[in-house]
């Protein structure tokens, strides 16, 4: 699955995107956040407050309890500040 990061999530993780093999027991957005945050300090800092993190699967907003399903791309980012 392709994972993309934006704004301060990207800065803390240290890169804008990557390809990952999602383990079988990682089924939801929340599971993936938990799994990623164990990778290293950067990921841990990016996901330190999971409730503020927004997610999109295949470029559509989703909640943290959403299943990863057959999604090809998931993105993590802070609350949006455009306009």
């Amino acid at each position: 699955m392709k994972v993309r990061y934006f704004a301060w999530v990207r800065e803390r993780v240290g890169h804008a995107e990557e390809e990952i093999d999602v383990p079988a027991d990682v089924e939801s957005v929340a599971d993936l956040i938990g799994w990623l945050s164990k990778r290293d300090e950067g990921y841990a800092a990016a996901f330190a407050e999971p409730t503020v993190i927004r997610a999109a699967i295949d470029q559509e907003h989703v909640e943290h309890d959403a299943a990863l399903g057959n999604g090809r791309e998931i993105a993590f980012f802070p609350p949006m500040t455009g306009g």
Binding site: Q59, F77, M80, G82, G83
Partner: protein, 156 residues
């Protein structure tokens, strides 16, 4: 069924309101009102040198289109334009344009407000500050008041 498609652009370049308005109304005899909202980059009491606008390419456009189509369903609009800039934007430069056209003013005003409220909270753009003193700026935080503004449009 509406006979027009929203004009949506995500671009680095600045835009010209008069030009965009002319494009929207040109050759049309049915439009009675246009409402334009322009969001500008402020210097925050000279503290800011610029804003850097990051976006999620693809999703930014599709999310604006989704919001625009919802506006077209809810109000009797005859056209609309949304332009959102990305990249480095200096104080005094425009960031975003929402332009709505309708037969009467109320729909044009309300739809423009709705579009901006939803853009703020749903369109994937993020602002980073560049401080005037050369210091490393920080990411702009989301405002609870923007969430509240978007919530008031929720349908029961």
């Amino acid at each position: 069924m509406k006979a027009w498609n929203p004009n949506i652009r995500v671009q680095r370049d600045a835009f010209d309101l008069n030009e965009e308005t002319r494009r929207l109304v040109e050759g049309r005899g049915d439009i009675g009102a246009t409402v334009a909202f322009t969001g500008w980059c402020r210097d925050e009491d000279e503290r800011l040198a610029a804003l850097e606008l990051e976006h999620y390419p693809g999703m930014a456009e599709s999310e604006i289109a989704r919001i625009a189509n919802e506006a077209a369903e809810r109000w009797p609009l005859q056209g609309l334009t949304v332009i959102h800039r990305t990249g480095r934007i200096a104080p005094g430069e425009p960031i975003v344009l929402v332009l709505t056209a309708s037969a009467h003013r109320q729909a044009a005003f309300e739809a423009a407000t709705f579009l901006m409220d939803y853009l703020k909270t749903r369109a994937p753009f993020w602002k980073k500050e560049h401080a005037a003193a050369g210091a490393q700026g920080d990411w702009v935080g989301a405002k609870g008041s923007d969430d509240d503004a978007a919530k008031r449009w929720r349908r029961a």
